[in-house]
């Protein structure tokens, strides 16, 4: 029962936070020194056009009404119109969001597959050469500017070795010869669903470098935190008791200790996920990846504020849901959490 209470409390908190996030996003958008009307109508518009635009954009209303109107539209899937392109933002989002998410998901898979086991092994063989090596590896990953790594990877694998493509999600040949059906927007999934094997391989080859670059920070972080959490757990008396009961290494490390260490590890994974959403922006620029990052950065440079607000809002919402999910997961795993 305590658990159910906790879950309800947590959900309410998430709602509150979402409201707060939307307000802040809105406020930031309105901090813009430049006049959105001027951007919308151009520098040479007449006064009547300007006034009409002002009313149309809702800028004559008090701030809170603007906010409410905006939120209402958002709930209907209307994120406004790009000031520059006049296209509904929602259409752009439908294309760019899956692109970024696909990159982030692949990156997360790499993080989990490499970071966590290395962290466990590092802790289990503490101070051995395996441990030292993985710690050095982790520190380098955590200290590396991700856009620099991306550049280096391009330098090595594309320029020097010619192994992998330089950017984009698919090569032009595939786009023409074996075009991908847009089912989910996740190309890996779409190509599998339509059994488009050549396109699948192509998409995969385009994902390799960006996802490696993007995952680096998270891999480093996961190794460090999993290691720390595991070391802490391995010192606990209940682990000694497990050894004393004759349980094998596999059981003790991977069935018991990992579960006890999983809570901080999950937190790290959550942090990594979110960090990777931000990091994706930087990586996308380098690899010309048509995702939210490129979209956002271009919008910033062209002072296209409706886009900035929308993207910030979407990403923040993702973030809130991820944290919520992790907290609920933690409550499932650790029966003591609901008591707090």
């Amino acid at each position: 029962m305590a658990r159910v209470e906790y879950i309800i409390r947590r959900l309410l908190l998430a709602v509150l936070v979402l409201v707060g996030v939307s307000i802040i996003t809105f406020v930031i958008a309105r901090l813009v020194p430049s006049d959105p009307v001027a951007l919308y109508v151009g520098p040479r518009a007449k006064i009547e056009t300007r006034e009409a635009a002002r009313v149309k954009l809702g800028l004559d209303r008090p701030l809170y009404q603007q906010y409410l109107r905006y939120m209402g539209e958002v709930f209907h899937g209307d994120f406004g119109i790009s000031v520059r392109s006049r296209r509904p933002i929602i259409d752009d989002l439908k294309v760019f969001l899956p692109a970024t998410m696909e990159l982030v998901f692949v990156s997360m898979i790499i993080t989990v597959l490499i970071g966590i086991p290395l962290g466990v092994v590092s802790a289990a063989w503490k101070d051995s050469w395996v441990d030292q090596l993985s710690r050095i590896f982790a520190v380098i990953n955590v200290s590396m500017p991700v856009f620099w790594l991306a550049l280096l990877l391009q330098l090595l694998f594309v320029r020097q070795l010619g192994l992998l493509p330089i950017g984009s999600r698919v090569s032009r040949e595939i786009a023409i010869l074996a075009p991908i059906d847009h089912i989910t927007g996740f190309y890996l999934v779409d190509t599998l669903l339509s059994r488009n094997w050549s396109a699948f391989r192509d998409v995969l080859s385009h994902l390799v470098l960006p996802s490696i670059a993007l995952s680096s920070y998270a891999v480093g972080l996961s190794i460090r935190m999993t290691r720390a959490a595991m070391i802490e757990v391995l010192q606990q008396k209940y682990i000694t008791a497990a050894w004393a009961a004759g349980l094998t290494g596999r059981t003790v490390y991977f069935k018991l200790a990992l579960k006890n260490a999983i809570v901080p590890t999950l937190m790290v994974l959550g942090l990594s996920f979110v960090w990777q959403i931000s990091g994706a922006m930087l990586v996308e620029i380098i690899f010309l990846w048509p995702g939210l990052g490129t979209y956002l950065v271009n919008a910033i440079l062209t002072i296209d504020f409706p886009i900035v607000v929308s993207v910030t809002l979407i990403v923040a919402v993702f973030y809130v849901f991820t944290n919520l999910f992790l907290d609920l997961l933690q409550a499932m795993i650790d029966p003591r959490v609901s008591l707090q």
């Binding site: 009961a245 004759g246 029966p335 003591r336």
Partner: protein
């Protein structure tokens, strides 16, 4: 007398620390027979816990057994690979710890923890294991065993947690149960119950118990034989009545003097002057000699093992001419 279950001979354990080498055990001699209830008593830091974990081969990081032998049912345990030790632990020799809140995994139910151990050492299907689990919980006198299987450790009281730990330890029919300060963290009334339980288990389950404690009263109540530890060595061992009422070694005597007794009401407690020697600088000869009221020059050498009565031994020069070796 039949062969002892466990024989420890001249066990020496050292730890490498920043400050130097700490000598935790300096030649422990012990014998545990089947169905024995042997107490290992001494002050904090004398090495009694280390003796317990050494038998199981669970010496903490940085520690190394530099010499000696531990024989279990005729097999020398020292030097055996970890895989072998993992078949001994839990199945033949089990351990119960001081703080049951710390030694039970908070994220698993009692039932799950029981099952994990049983599955490791025994072949049985789910329903057989569940039956056995329920039986074990009844044996340790936990009420409503079916419900307990589904509870988490933090939902139980201290005494119940310790009972559950004992159940887990005995789940695979161990021959020896090492109990490291099993009642120290419990309330006094609960202490008595757990000690009673351990005594009964020895009879009904046929398990030998090594009771590690700093509390002489616990030893007096529950054990048949006792070993007194000082600075990593056994200074005296024998039947409980003899050692406690006819204590031979000066340290045992001092320890008994220092315990508050009804007869000494109103009088100041007798402390033992001086301090326990540091493990970094072990002394040549008898470790107790700096504090011993009867110290002689010859105490600078390693004291011999003297039998002052059948199965009652002392390591002290005071009795050097009294009995045979």
């Amino acid at each position: 007398m039949d062969q002892p279950l466990v024989t420890v001979r001249d066990l020496r354990l050292q730890f490498r620390t920043y400050a130097g080498i700490v000598h935790a055990l300096n030649g422990i001699d012990l014998e545990i027979h089947e169905h024995d209830m042997l107490g290992l008593v001494g002050e904090t830091g004398c090495g009694k816990s280390m003796t317990g974990v050494s038998i199981l081969g669970l010496v903490p990081r940085g520690g190394e057994i530099v010499s000696g032998s531990i024989v279990f049912r005729g097999e020398e345990l020292l030097g055996k690979p970890e895989s072998y030790m993992q078949t001994i632990r839990g199945a033949k020799i089990a351990m119960v710890f001081q703080d049951p809140s710390a030694s039970l995994n908070p994220l698993f139910t009692i039932g799950q923890q029981l099952e994990t151990v049983m599955r490791r050492h025994q072949r049985a299907d789910k329903s057989q294991m569940r039956d056995r689990a329920l039986e074990l919980l009844k044996v340790v006198e936990l009420p409503d065993p079916a419900r307990i299987l589904k509870t988490y450790p933090h939902e139980l009281s201290g005494g119940m947690k310790q009972r559950a730990s004992i159940a887990i330890a005995l789940s695979c029919g161990a021959d020896l149960l090492i109990a490291d300060e099993p009642t120290t963290d419990l309330d006094v009334t609960v202490q008595a119950q757990i000690l009673d339980l351990l005594r009964r288990l020895r009879e009904t389950q046929g398990v030998a118990i090594l009771m590690i404690t700093h509390d002489l009263a616990v030893v007096a109540e529950t054990c048949q034989r006792v070993g007194v530890l000082y600075a990593g060595q056994v200074v005296e061992s024998g039947p409980v009545d003899e050692v406690l009422f006819e204590a031979k070694h000066p340290y045992t005597r001092a320890l008994l003097e220092a315990s508050p007794k009804r007869s000494s009401r109103g009088q100041p407690l007798q402390a033992i002057p001086g301090t326990v020697p540091s493990g970094l600088h072990p002394l040549e000869g008898c470790a107790f000699s700096p504090r011993c009221p009867h110290a002689m020059e010859i105490c600078g050498q390693a004291p011999p093992r003297i039998s002052v009565a059948p199965s009652h031994t002392v390591y002290c020069f005071l009795y050097a001419d009294s009995e045979e070796r």
